[in-house]
Amino acid sequence: MTSTSVDAEWQPSELELSRRALRRRATTRSVLIALGSSVALAVVLIVVVVNTPGWAIVSQTFFDPQVALESIGPIFQGLLVNLLVLAIAVVCVAILGTLLATMRSLRGPVFFPLRALAAAYTDFFRGIPLLIVLYLVGFGIPALGIFPRMPPMFWGTIALVLTYSAYVAEVLRAGMEAVHPSQRIAARSLGLTHGQTLRIVVIPQGVRKVVPALMNDFVSMQKDVGLISVLGAVDAVRAAQLMVAETYNFTPYVVAGLMFIVLSWPMIRLTDVVTARLNKREQAGGVV
């Protein structure tokens, strides 16, 4: 760059100052309008819901404060199970997903069986509903009688990993393919092997391109860990279910739902922030 820097003696002109004031006033006005319309909408929604004919019964069955307070403890205990499953599953999905994506991107006829296998795997597990995978893995595999007895939580984790690896592998592959071919050519021209090219040049860039999509999969996994309850694992959902069966009051479900929302909320916000930052970097040099 040239040697220019900031003109220290420059002061904004009267005109510029009045323009800035005008912009500030416009901003204040839009914030106030947004606030006003939000409050109005909230009031309308509350009035409509509270005045529905069944509201008295619904509020009793779904929003009973006494039941809610009692259910928090057991459900939170269950949520810890969900968190443990999630932590283990995320690591396994990252490894298996990367492996699958790499297998699918191998070139050369020698690797055809690997490519075909990876393709068949991702097709199968993206097509089949997670709930069915849970049943098949959770009840089918133990029935074979070749594995030692494992808690339902274990099989639930396996089922989650199987399904989510397929999704994550496809996202990663899309990212790797989105890296411009010129990057591969440049890496190979430096003498890097195919493997080195993938590891050092393609995968780091590819992952960066799909970070928002990966985080989105993570958020979706955060709530799908609740499905392991169908195998009998006492997680947050199952704990809520047990309490509902005792009291015939559905409030514990609401409590469990709120806990899952609280759990996923930081990640959802973080996804937005990261996405915005990536967009900004990609669109450097334009404001429109």
Binding site: M1, T2, S3, T4, S5, V6, D7, W10, P12, S13, L15, E16, R19, L22, R23, A26, G286, V287, V288
Partner: protein, 245 residues
């Protein structure tokens, strides 16, 4: 004297801790071709972007046919619809055919009837020898052809002023000529043009006025013969000596 088509008064632009434009005054009259020259980073491109309201300014004013377009109350989209812009990298829409690229603004922004816009565009493309490419997608065209299509896209709606931002910098040398021929033709038809370029011989031939920018200020301006052959400022002479070998 008539109202200038586009006029900058004391325009300032700061990026972070770097003043890119430091009080630019520039007035462009009807049918005038003004060519901005200067080193990379001198502010040529930024000045063009502020004129099109793609970049906001930090001080000063810009007038389009007498109207202050830097007033916050102005509808920026409406202003941009009156200005034609051609970029260094063409920026044609790859998912649209040449004809759809060219007629997009005419139909969607200016409300021209689709059949009318297409007829007009085809006629214009025909005169440029691009008629056979009208239904192709941009990736089937050479760089020179793409850039000429981009120019047609900018002029189809008869903008008040045409801003050309280093439109030949991304082209192979043998393709530069066809693009410059088109600019020459537009000048003959009376277009008002502000152009940033590194093509000094073309600047000398086509410009009514040369404006030399350095470090975000206008150092010198005047007719090509004066600026190129008898520069008044040492900085101008130095720059020209470097670029003309």
């Amino acid at each position: 004297m008539s109202v200038p088509v586009i006029e900058a008064r004391g325009v300032r632009k700061r990026f972070g801790d770097h003043d890119v434009l430091r009080g630019i005054d520039l007035s462009v009259g009807t049918h005038e071709v003004v060519v901005l020259i200067g080193a990379s980073g001198s502010g040529k491109s930024t000045l063009l972007k502020t004129m099109n309201l793609i970049e906001g300014i930090d001080d000063g004013q810009i007038f389009l046919s007498g109207e202050d377009i830097t007033d916050p109350r102005v509808d920026a989209d409406a202003v941009r619809a009156r200005i034609g812009v051609v970029f260094q990298h063409f920026n044609l829409f790859p998912h649209l055919t040449v004809l759809d690229n060219v007629t997009l603004a005419a139909v969607r922004v200016h409300g021209m009837r689709k059949t009318e816009a297409r007829t007009k565009a085809r006629a214009l493309l025909d005169t440029l020898g691009l008629g056979a490419k009208a239904d192709e997608y941009p990736d089937r065209l050479s760089g020179g052809q793409q850039q000429r299509v981009a120019i047609v896209r900018a002029v189809l709606t008869q903008p008040e002023v045409l801003l050309l931002d280093e439109i030949t910098s991304a082209l192979d040398p043998q393709l530069v000529g066809e693009v410059l021929d088109l600019v020459r033709e537009l000048k003959h038809q009376g277009a008002t043009i502000v152009m940033a370029t590194h093509e000094m011989s073309f600047a000398r031939e086509v410009a009514d006025r040369i404006v030399f920018l350095e470090h975000g200020v206008v150092v010198e301006q005047g007719p090509p013969s004066q600026v190129f052959d008898a520069p008044q400022q040492a900085a101008t002479a130095e720059f020209l000596a470097r670029v003309q070998h």
